[in-house]
Amino acid sequence: MRSFWSITLATLAKDIRLEWRSKDALNAMLFFSLLVVVIFVFSFDPLAEESRHIVGGLVWIAFLFAAVVALNQTWARELRNQVLDGYRVSPAPGTALFVAKALGNFLLVSLLEALMAPLFVIFYNLRVLGPAWQLVPVALLGTWALVVNGTFFAAMSLRTRSRELMLPLLLFPVSIPAVIAMVAATTSILTGEDSAHFYIVLLVTYDVVFTTACVGLFDTVLQAE
């Protein structure tokens, strides 16, 4: 039996190769979040000062919706040809599969954010007044918070009718504290009025709590059939 990390890396490499060849999820997410940005630009026409206060919310709403697009097809891919059943009967630990999937989604959504962030800066004439480097940990922690629960709930909603509809219904309520923390941290960095430390600590707590819960309970969900 191979070690935990070699299984994780093998699954991750397979997913990245698949995504690199098809680019389905990335293209869909990029275009989707571009549409969200453009629609927001048409809906609100803010001054530079106002936009600093609202962009934190807009950015994360766009990424949240775009992430759901990627998360929905994480497991759907494994249903074809009974790949998931193969995993289930194999001696490989289920958590290795989960970690690989979560890391894959994390890379995908982070790439999306890196590509979309400049667009927000252009459309909203943003100039960061607080410590800009703090946006990096906020983005990384926030993305992990969305992705770890998203991957888990996507696996859960596999067993339901209309599963694509189910994922946001399960994910959004549980993500509310993370979203509040991400938005508040981003806003306070952009405006430079408050310190974002409290929210960064909160995001770390959220990530630790839910990563533990997901890893601990994933086998139950994977074997539930």
């Binding site: 067993r159 009718r161 189910m166 309520p173 509310i176 504290p177 923390a181 909160l202 839910f210």
Partner: protein, 305 residues
């Protein structure tokens, strides 16, 4: 047991009527708010009942997940005891005590809440076995959502004349109640949309996630100050004893009512599962014969007789 149901129903109806009379005519009018404050007699008991039911749902869900394997069952038992012991000691540590005071809670009320976890855990384990634990979880979630909806409706009705606004965005109590409501609605949606044999397990997992979420919601809105009145019991708030008496009377009536609804919902759900099981067995014996019957997965079988 079945004979007790109509007796309790009559008793509850009488209690509700008496509590209504007390709330509307006997309790003194508030000096500042006037008669509009009387909605508290419905708002607060509903909130307490809803939170209690969600709490039971959480404990029952943990039970359901833990009972799957004997090893986790043992571990969960010790964890429940540990939570009780740690939860009783921690509120009395000076730093925690000071911090609890800032959110308007006495250490004793925090310790009692912590003690409820092992107490409920063992009571539920004694009274409900097998699939019954899951039936209890779904019953409590459904009735809890109804009570929580009452809280969320009566709150704004009161807030409009007193605060001048329907809803205070970012308020710690309002937001955490709303998020709790959202989580449990998504729990019910999951149960409705999922029709595999493992719905119970998935729902129990979601209930655990929801319970982990609640403290985080609370901290995420930490910096937004609350407009909500201080808690009436176990907190810094003060209330005329005559009003408090009526409030407790109303809570008793609401608890009886909630218990009654849960009871009949519990029986209904059990009957529904029995019918489903019987139908599944019947269709199996028609098509596959008795050989298949023994090995087939009957969707909601197990403990439901």
């Amino acid at each position: 047991m079945k004979k007790a149901f109509p007796i309790l129903a009559v008793l509850t109806a009488f209690l509700l009527a008496y509590a209504f009379y007390q709330a509307m005519f006997v309790a003194p009018t508030d000096a500042l708010q006037g008669d509009v404050y009387r909605i508290i007699f419905y708002h607060v008991p509903s909130a307490w009942t809803a939170f209690l039911l969600f709490f039971i749902n959480f404990v029952a869900s943990v039970h359901y997940l833990a009972d799957a394997k004997p090893s986790t069952q043992r571990a969960a038992k010790w964890i429940a005891i540990a939570v009780g012991i740690v939860g009783v000691i921690i509120p009395y540590i000076p730093q925690v005590r000071g911090w609890l005071q800032t959110i308007g809670m006495y250490p004793s009320s925090a310790a009692t809440t912590a003690l409820m976890i092992p107490a409920l855990y063992f009571v539920i384990g004694k009274l409900f076995r097998g699939q019954d634990v899951d039936v209890l979880a779904v019953t409590c979630a459904e009735v809890g959502v109804v009570f929580c909806t009452i809280v969320l409706i009566t709150g704004p009705i009161w807030a409009r004349p007193v605060w001048g606004i329907w809803w205070a965005p970012g308020d710690i109590r309002l937001t955490s109640t709303l998020v709790l409501w959202l989580i449990y609605v998504s729990y019910l949606v999951l149960r409705r949309f999922s029709d595999s044999a493992q719905t119970q397990k998935l729902a129990a997992v979601l209930a655990v996630f929801g319970a982990l979420d609640v403290p985080l919601v609370y901290f995420s809105i930490w910096f937004f100050r609350t407009q909500h009145p201080q808690p009436v019991i176990g907190g810094g708030g003060s209330m005329d004893p005559r009003m408090l008496h009526v409030l407790l009377l109303n809570w008793m009536a609401f608890l009886c009512f909630g218990f009654l609804v849960c009871w009949s919902r519990f029986r209904l759900e059990k009957l529904r599962r029995e019918v489903e099981e019987a139908e599944a067995l019947e269709s199996l014996s028609e098509h596959g014969g008795p050989v298949v019957q023994s090995s087939a997965k009957v969707p909601l079988g197990g403990g439901a007789r």
